[in-house]
């Protein structure tokens, strides 16, 4: 909780600094705030996204994001590239929800165009809160048990390379590729089902779920939750 508050405070501080620096930066025709949403989020993550970019200097801007992700483990619509070996022991309905707040720095590389237009590198740090819920069928028995674990906290680190266009004077289109890392604390990595249902000694390795959240395009299947992500965000430039 403290980390969440700290993150939000940092984000708001960036907003205040940027508003003071408004007279010093060009932005896009004076527009230094870009409010955007990622179209890939509902499409690939069954979630939602809202972001704010604040142009602080000529080629540097700060970003603040909120991301809601939902992932069905065995959903027919979304297939991951990793085969579980737990599917014979667990049920087929499991859902992982994640709320993530991130703050980051975006550095634009074009010399002739000031931010927020052109190619950029972005570095983001976030805090995620996960909740896993599902149905457990241990050892192919007919008994079924529901389980819910969470909220679990994790850190998220991402590096993105992308390009942002400004269209029709005020609309922004942002396309980027990212590499994402999710960092769960060790104590959260194994969840003992026995705590919920005494007599059933099962252990769910959280990384079996969390590595699905390395990225929305491709996951490396590691316990760190590493993967590639793609975002296509549309937004409005606000003066």
């Amino acid at each position: 909780m403290k980390k969440l508050v700290f993150t939000i405070v940092i984000g708001l501080s960036c907003l205040l600094v940027a508003s003071q620096a408004q007279a010093q930066v060009s932005g896009h025709r004076g527009g230094i705030f870009v409010i955007k949403t990622d179209l890939m989020s509902p499409l690939l993550d069954w979630g939602a996204h809202a972001g704010l970019e604040i142009v602080a200097f000529r080629k540097i801007s700060f970003v603040v994001d909120y991301n809601l992700q939902r992932e069905f483990l065995y959903g027919n619509f979304l297939k991951r590239n990793r085969e579980f070996d737990y599917d014979m022991r667990y049920g087929e309905d499991a859902l992982m929800r994640a709320h993530t707040i991130s703050v980051g720095l975006r550095m634009y590389s074009n010399k002739a165009l000031p931010a927020p237009q052109g190619s950029y590198w972005e570095f983001k740090l976030g805090i995620a809160r996960y909740q896993i819920s599902g149905v457990l069928t241990p050892d192919r028995s007919s008994a079924q048990y529901t389980f819910t674990y969470g909220p679990l906290a994790a850190g998220r680190l991402s590096t993105t390379y992308g390009h942002q266009w400004i269209l029709f004077s005020r609309m922004s289109l942002d396309l980027g590729f990212s590499v994402n890392f999710n960092m769960f604390s060790y104590s959260n990595q194994y969840l003992n089902v026995n705590e919920t249902y005494p007599g059933i000694n099962e252990e769910i390795e959280v990384s079996e779920f969390t590595d699905l959240y390395g990225g929305n395009i491709w996951n490396f299947g590691s316990s760190l939750g590493v993967g590639f992500g793609l975002h296509l965000a549309v937004g409005i430039v606000v003066p």
């Binding site: 550095m107 165009l113 000031p114 395009i217």
Partner: protein
């Protein structure tokens, strides 16, 4: 479906991220003293030229009137946003009484362009120069010897209410896109390389600005921007507004 999205995004991405750009800004030592007085600028006949190397030798050079009109309007709007009143004197809109254009303005423009290109000047090393700190503010260099023009145009300052006259122009060269790398796609491992080579930008755009003070007969400010893409509206607006903002920004010591 994700792989299809990934591939489509890659085509657009490689086409856009291959964009490179340069910015060269040179200011007169007097610029920092005069920057607060720059509230009105008269620009003489802004030009936009388009060269299509893909076309045949007879029609490769086009002067797009529609694009020129868009360029002029964008200059006016960007200057207004930057707090500068821009007066555009365009030879397309002359009437019988506008003799000043042929007697003074056209020769002034010619003299400024010749002074800028032929007069040899050296530049002071600035910590905000090309290798300087340019993440925060635009890089620039300062003249040691300032390009000068003759003093016969100083009377224009009284007539137009400002001593600051500017020349703006833009040139776009569009090369023929090389599609031969598409043959590499027959080797699946070469597909990303093939896409990257075909999708990279094939246009080069140069934008220049020269601002002169006719009372002191000195070139106050000059700038050249280069970007490897066509000047679509968002790029044009961004470059012109940034240019006027830098004109209004004094050079630091």
């Amino acid at each position: 479906m994700r792989l299809i999205l990934f591939a489509l995004a890659g085509v657009v991405f490689f086409g856009s991220c291959g964009v490179t750009s340069e910015l060269l800004v040179e200011k007169s030592p007097e610029h920092k003293n005069e920057v607060k007085k720059i509230k009105k600028i008269v620009t003489i006949d802004p030009e936009y030229s388009l060269v299509y190397l893909a076309k045949g030798a007879d029609d490769y050079y086009l002067r797009s009137e529609k694009k020129e009109e868009e360029f002029t309007k964008t200059l006016e709007k960007s200057a207004k946003k930057a707090g500068i009143e821009l007066v555009v004197l365009d030879k397309e809109n002359l009437n019988a009484n506008d003799l000043d254009y042929f007697n003074y303005l056209a020769p002034l423009k010619q003299q400024v362009m010749v002074a800028s290109t032929l007069q040899d000047v050296t530049l002071k090393k600035s910590r905000y120069g090309e290798n300087g700190r340019n993440w925060v503010r635009a890089p620039y260099e300062v003249f040691k010897e300032v390009p000068i023009i003759t003093s016969e145009y100083s009377h224009l300052a009284d007539k137009y209410g400002t001593p600051y006259f500017a020349m703006h122009g833009m040139l776009t060269v569009v090369e023929k896109r090389n599609l031969k790398p598409l043959w590499f796609m027959f080797y699946p491992v070469m597909i990303p390389v093939s896409i990257a080579m075909v999708a990279k930008p094939n246009a080069h755009t140069y934008y220049y600005t020269v601002v002169v003070n006719v009372e002191t007969s000195e070139v106050l400010y000059r700038e050249v921007r280069y970007i490897t893409q066509k000047p679509v509206s968002g790029v044009l607006q961004g470059m012109t507004y940034d240019s006027f903002r830098i004109v209004k920004k004094p050079a630091k010591k």
